[in-house]
Each structure stands twice: as C-alpha cells, then as structure tokens.
C-alpha cells in the first residue's frame, strides 16, 4: 500500500551550474525507486540533469508562525546592502 511507502521530497537540477530546486514529492518503497519514479514523474521533458530525493520525514523546517521574529535580526541591517552607501557619481568602477 502506498501509505506504507514513505514520502520523498524531490529536488531537480535543471542544468549543470544551477542549484537543485524542490519540484514536488512522491511515494516510493526505497531511495532507489524514488529516484527512478522521480525521473518519470518530474523529468519527462529533459527538465533535469540530476535528481535528489530526501525522505520527507528527515526535513526540519523553520516554523512559519515565528517567521517574523525568526528573520527579524536581519531586518534592520540595511547597511548590509551596497545601496546603503552613497558614493559620488563621478567615482569610477565602484
């Protein structure tokens, strides 16, 4: 039964040089079958050159409820962005 097959999250690298990106999930009895099924479900049109599968149960996620306090520390640090600094127009290459 499929519910006794674990859920796997699928990540596909579109082409060499790009990150693996989450594309969806599927059920499979083991990792090897998960990769094969992911190929058939998520890359029927050359969408990928590499696939990762991860047991969904192994993923730990930050909680959306505490999103604001969790990411808040970087919110007030505008000086981390280059646009924070005013440089005269006539200074070249900066």
């Amino acid at each position: 039964m499929s519910s006794s097959w674990p859920l796997w999250e699928v990540f596909v690298r579109g082409k060499r040089g790009l990150n693996h990106v989450h594309v969806g999930s599927l059920h499979a009895p083991d990792a090897e079958m998960a990769v094969r099924n992911a190929r058939d479900v998520y890359t029927r049109r050359n969408e990928g050159v590499s696939i990762w599968v991860v047991p969904a149960a192994s993923i730990t996620a930050s909680s959306p409820d505490e999103k604001d306090p969790f990411f808040e520390p970087s919110g007030d640090k505008v000086y981390r962005h280059p646009t924070f600094y005013e440089i005269p127009e006539d200074v070249p290459h900066l």
Binding site: M1, S2, W5, G24, M33, D40, S63, P64, D65
Partner: protein, 310 residues
C-alpha cells in the same frame, strides 16, 4: 489581529499560502476536495484515450498518444502530492475515488467511439482544461499553483497534437471528414459542461473566489472557451453543433446556447454513459496492483535489514 483576518489580508494581497501556514479549516477542506477531484480527473482521464493506443493508425500516432496518456498520469501525481501537503492521505483519496465517494470531471464519463475522438479530445477537452487551468497557476495555495504551472506547460502539447490530428483527417477523405464532424457533434456540449454549472447555480464559487482559490467564474471561462474555439473550428472546417452560436459585436463575444444541464446533473450523479465502467476499471487496476506494492515494500524492508540502507 486574529489569524483569520491576517490570512484574508495576505490572500487579498496576492500572497501565496504555503503548507505550514495557518489557514481556515474551510479553506483547507475546499482545497483538498478540489485538488483531489482534479487529480482523480487526470487519472480517470487516461481511460477514454488509453482505449485507442493499440489502435492508433501509425507508430507515430501511437507514440504521441502514449506520451499524452502518460502525462495525464503525471498530472494526477503532481496533484495528489499537492493534497498531501494539506494533510490528506493518498490511500484515503484513492479509496474515495474507487468507492465513488469523490467525483471527477463529468467529461470522462462519455465513451470514445471513434479514432477522431482522440483528436477532438485533444482539441476541445484539453482546450477547455487549459482555459480552466491557466488562471489556476495564480491560485492562492502555493503547491497547487506550482503543480498547475507544470501541468499547463504540458497541456499545450496535448491540444496541439489533437488539432494537428484533426487537420490531417480533414485533409483526407469525405468519410474521414464526416468522422471528425460526428465526433465534434458529440463532444462540443460535454466540453462546455466542463466549466461547471451556470454561476447562478454554482454554490462554491463565491467563497472560492474570495479565497482566490478560483480566479474566474464558470460562465466567464465558458465564454472564453467558446470565443477561442469558434475561429479554430472555422479553420478546421467543422461546424459547432449550436444553432444559437453567433458573434455579438456589441458584447465583443459570441452568443451561444446552454448545454443540457439536466444531462450534466445526471452524469455528475453517476448516471452517465460510462461512470460505472470508469470506476470499476480504476478499482480493478488498484486491486490488481496490490501485490506489486506489497512486493516492493517487502523488498525495501529486507534491504534495510540486510544492508542498513533506506
């Protein structure tokens, strides 16, 4: 601000809702029902066309049809995966489908009587599905929207292969042209029904629009489909079987007749030409596959025991 108000503000601001966000129970329930019904439609939709794979007239047409039917299986899987992000259980959903407790699109309860049906389904049925699905790429629930983007990319092949098949038949013999027209006559009205009942009778539309699950009303989408199909029919050289169909310059749209809504409700209620056959076929496939699922699970757990690999 309470959670519900916060949720509604986010949705109104076109923010996507993601799986672990707080959402109203009704929103979750509506989504599970709608996405599951959509997934079931993709899976059941494999049957009417799958019926013609072995009889398609050339290796080229067989390969195309096989690829299309395989895509529909993929669409079903993307959508089932989206329901699982809402806490639905895949086996439950399959159980609901094969016991007739959840519905799928009424269109798949009509038989495919001739090979021209393969072309007409690609053109009209996939065409109507595209009309329905393109706005869903902006639906408020993230995983559903992303599944729809993936699906829409693939649907365009479905519609084009159908139209090309029909153009080929229309350039053939009189008998082939007649076969196409006969098929259009059978599929036109059921295709219009794919958008659901008229807005005045559609009970879920208002709340779904407010939650941005649905982006257009049934009647808006139906109008769009008619306007798109008329010039395509002309180019093809077929007549759409609606005596009331004519251009209305004032509205900038075509006027058209209403499908037989009595028939629609009959089909939705389980009394269409092939309802029983479609569900029985799906149930048999599921039951016949049980030993394969069990064997794969047994193999996987033995490997874990032996090699310690998951």
């Amino acid at each position: 601000m309470d959670l519900e108000a916060q949720f509604e503000r986010a949705v109104e601001a076109e923010q996507r809702v993601e799986p672990r966000d707080w959402m109203p129970d009704g929103y979750r329930r509506t989504l599970v029902r709608q996405i599951a019904q959509h997934a079931h439609s993709e899976i059941i939709g494999m049957q009417p066309e799958g019926n013609w794979i072995s009889r398609a007239p050339s290796l080229r047409r067989k390969a195309i049809l096989l690829a299309k039917v395989q895509d529909e299986a993929g669409h079903g899987l993307y959508l089932y995966a989206a329901t699982e992000t809402l806490g639905a259980d895949r086996d439950d959903l399959t159980g609901m489908l094969i016991s007739g407790r959840q519905k799928y699109s009424s269109i798949f309860n009509y038989p495919t009587l001739s090979y021209a049906d393969v072309g007409v389904i690609g053109w009209l049925v996939d065409g109507a599905a595209i009309c329905n699905q393109v706005p869903l790429c902006r639906t408020s629930y993230g995983p559903y929207a992303r599944a729809m983007i993936r699906i829409c990319k693939e649907e365009s092949f479905h519609q084009r292969q159908g139209y090309e098949l029909l153009m080929t038949m229309m350039s053939g013999t009189d008998a082939q042209r007649a076969m196409v027209q006969e098929s259009v006559d059978r599929w036109w009205w059921p295709s219009l029904m794919m958008f659901g009942p008229p807005d005045a009778e559609s009970s879920n539309t208002e709340q779904s629009m407010k939650w941005r699950i649905k982006r257009n009303t049934n009647d808006e989408l139906r109008q769009k489909f008619v306007d798109m199909s008329v010039p395509q029919a002309q180019k093809l050289g077929v007549t759409l079987p609606d005596p009331e169909l004519k251009w209305n310059a004032e509205r900038g749209h075509h006027d058209f007749g209403q499908p037989d809504w009595e028939e629609f409700w009959q089909v939705v209620g389980g009394n269409g030409p092939t309802n029983a056959q479609r569900v029985a076929h799906r149930r048999k496939a599921h039951e016949d596959g049980e030993w394969v699922r069990a064997a794969a699970a047994a193999h996987a757990s033995r490997r874990v025991a032996r090699e310690g690999v998951a």
